[in-house]
């Protein structure tokens, strides 16, 4: 099902919601944490919609609830109150296994801390979602996904043998290998330098434009956010601002992936 969605034509150059059908719809999302007698409202009534093919950044000061929101959107965590429809399905009606399947098939999640398995080669990391999906021909598809992020020549490397940027790209390949309709990334460039961040942005833009994948990511940096078409600002668990990026301010990341993957990798060495 996810595959069919992912291969749909992308909405050509449209910025505004309304270009595709609604893929994410949240209403009144609330999440509170109680620590002793202090209650933190990490999310405090968040409502918005995301349509297919959008490329969207979430910004906001530290502690404003960005990660909390992303975890809910990624079906990794449940909201305290409020409703989340993913692709028209209300996620609170899904049981543990159904949520696992959603995470496996519909969503690719990229963590700020990469979250790769220790002592496991890049290839095996990327094969894992396919394994849990029950796919047989895993290696070819995993290599393809690694090539798409320019890491075909690092397939046998373990996380400790990769740079931070390379590890993040392995994580992106892992998120992409099942052709999800939705790619969620929590500060994917937070631990990376500007140049490497640029590479990651280029990958996101390409995935969004060429494959029509809906991309939502969190960032602290306005320059990174300007690679998108829409930015949501959070503050104290509430949406403070939700605006399109003006056409003139939008940035396009250097298309470093245009060269064949191994050449690009060789050039970077």
């Amino acid at each position: 099902m996810a595959t069919a969605v992912a291969l749909e034509a992308s909405p050509t150059g449209s910025v505004t919601p309304g270009a595709g059908e609604v893929i994410i719809k949240v209403e009144g999302l609330t999440k509170t944490y109680t620590m002793g007698d202090v209650t933190v409202r990490a999310l405090d009534g968040v409502s918005f919609e995301v349509r297919r093919g959008e490329l969207l950044a979430i910004m906001g000061p530290s502690g404003s609830g960005k990660s909390t929101l992303m975890n809910v959107l990624g079906c990794l965590d449940q909201p305290g109150a409020g409703t989340y429809w993913l692709d028209g399905v209300e996620t609170s009606t899904l049981d543990d296994d159904a949520l696992a399947e959603v995470r496996n098939q519909k969503i690719g999640f990229v963590f700020q801390q990469f979250n790769l398995l220790a002592r496991t080669s890049a290839l095996e990391q990327v094969e894992l979602p396919l394994l849990y999906a029950g796919v047989r021909d895993r290696q070819a598809r995993a290599l393809e996904a690694l090539a798409a992020v320019g890491l075909a020549d690092r397939a046998r490397h373990r996380p400790t043998e990769l740079s931070g940027g390379q590890q993040q790209r392995v994580a992106i390949a892992r998120a992409l290998v099942n052709n999800p309709a939705l790619l969620l990334a929590d500060e994917p460039t937070g631990a990376l330098d500007t140049r490497t961040s640029e590479e990651i942005m280029a990958i996101f833009q390409r995935l969004n434009e060429e494959q029509g994948i809906t991309v939502v990511f969190v960032t602290h940096e306005p320059d990174i956010a300007r690679h998108t078409r829409r930015v949501i600002h959070l503050r104290d668990g509430q949406i403070n601002q939700d605006a399109p990026v003006p056409e003139g301010e939008r940035l396009t990341a250097r298309p470093i992936q245009e060269a064949p993957a191994h050449e690009a990798a060789a050039a970077r060495r």
Partner: protein
């Protein structure tokens, strides 16, 4: 995800940390191995004693001085010896014990033996010529002493196989002289060895005529002046229970009358009674060894527990990652269940191999020189099953329990785990 893939995931995860897997297995190996080894030693003692007692024949009664309580425990062991050679003879001569076909009184005594320049301390046993037949023993060299030699209190001796070996080595023994308690005895025969069953020193002995023993070597008397006997072996006509019961009744009556007592001052035991007593003792030995081994199994189990708990807990993040990319609960459970099973089964198998192999190696070894009793070991299947099951359950439980807990966590909680 199907089973083969689960197995592959589990094996890969084990392979990713071989040292940890090996350490976990070590706990299994030590626990299982020690239980099997120690229990097989206990079982070996039991089997040896049982077969020795069984070898006595089931148509024998053994009468010893002193009474017993009901539980078979001697109440007055070591009190005045009350049995005499005349008691034994009376059983046949009076005709009051028709079930008895032969009697063989024994009067053992320790003694310093010098011969051929060798000097050893061994057991002397004063017996009658009937002893050979009643106890079903046989002579390998020369002859046993005759009724005439018995009557004449001849200074003759028949050596046990080990004693012969110790004193004379490979040279001829028959016709030589041994000096026992300052008295010279002529060796007229050597017993056939009882071999591996020879617990209790049946091969470490010198047999002399009972009369010689009582007049020349040991002059102990009963209170009424009779010559003391330690055991009367009575051979019955057959091994039916009724025969035995009748014989016990008759002998008891006769002896109480002869000793002029109302209460038994002797004990009559059958092979079964001996077996029961021996089983009590050997059962206790096995239990003791088993509990020592049980402690090591427990320690091994705690080791397994510890490593399993640590390894699963430190892998909570891994579980979080796997769940985040689509692993279902059963995928996680299958992985840890298979991991724990592989560790338990491989570790347990090695433990069985080492425990059983070690027991085999111990079997027949004589600690303390060539004449010492050889150790006997019996590897019993119940010890294997017990040790293996306990360790496997510990491994599985402590491997799977934290995994179940982790598999129920939100992915994000598992990822946050520290």
């Amino acid at each position: 995800m199907n089973l083969t893939e689960s197995i592959r995931v589990a094996l890969r995860a084990l392979g990713a940390n071989k040292l940890r897997a090996a350490l976990t297995m070590l706990g299994m190996i030590i626990g299982v191995g020690s239980v099997i080894a120690l229990m097989s030693i206990g079982r070996g003692v039991q089997a040896g004693i049982t077969s020795q007692i069984k070898g006595l024949g089931s148509n024998l009664l053994f009468i010893t001085p002193g009474s017993t309580t009901q539980g078979g425990v001697r109440a007055q062991a070591g009190t005045a010896s009350t049995l005499t050679a005349e008691d034994a003879q009376a059983m046949l001569d009076s005709g009051r014990v028709p079930q008895a076909v032969a009697v063989a009184p024994e009067a053992p005594n320790g003694g310093q033996v010098v011969a051929n320049g060798q000097n050893t301390f061994t057991r002397l046993n004063g017996v009658t010529p009937e002893f050979l037949e009643v106890r079903n023993f046989s002579v390998a060299e020369g002859d046993f002493f005759s009724a005439e030699q018995m009557a004449a209190r001849s200074l003759v001796a028949v050596l046990g196989a080990n004693t012969r070996q110790t004193l004379f080595g490979d040279s001829d023994a028959v016709g030589q002289t041994v000096r026992v308690n300052q008295i010279n005895l002529r060796v007229i025969g050597v017993m056939a060895p009882k071999g591996a069953q020879a617990q209790g020193g049946q091969d470490d002995v010198i047999y002399v005529p009972l009369t010689t023993m009582q007049t020349r070597l040991n002059r102990a008397r009963t209170a009424r002046g009779g010559q003391t006997i330690s055991t009367i072996n009575v051979q019955l006509a057959d091994d039916r229970v009724e025969t035995r019961q009748a014989a016990v009744e008759n002998i008891g009556e006769l002896l109480r009358e002869r000793h002029r007592v109302a209460q038994d001052d002797f004990t009559i035991r059958s092979q079964e009674d001996l077996l029961q007593t021996a089983n009590q003792i050997t059962g206790f030995i096995t239990l003791f060894l088993g509990s020592v081994a049980g402690i090591s199994l427990l320690v091994g189990g705690i080791g397994i527990m510890n490593i399993m708990l640590v390894s699963v807990t430190e892998r909570t993040r891994e579980i979080g990652i796997r769940k985040a990319i689509g692993a279902k609960r059963r995928d996680i459970l299958a992985q840890f269940l298979i991991e724990a099973t592989v560790v338990s089964v491989v570790g347990g198998a090695i433990g069985i191999f080492i425990g059983a192999g070690g027991s085999r190696l111990l079997n027949g070894i004589r600690f303390g020189g060539p004449t010492a009793q050889p150790i006997q070991t019996v590897v019993s299947p119940d010890a294997i099953v017990l040790a293996f099951t306990v360790s496997a359950l510990i491994g599985l439980f402590f491997g799977v329990y934290p995994a179940v807990k982790a598999s129920r966590l939100n992915p994000i909680e598992a990822l946050r785990y520290e």
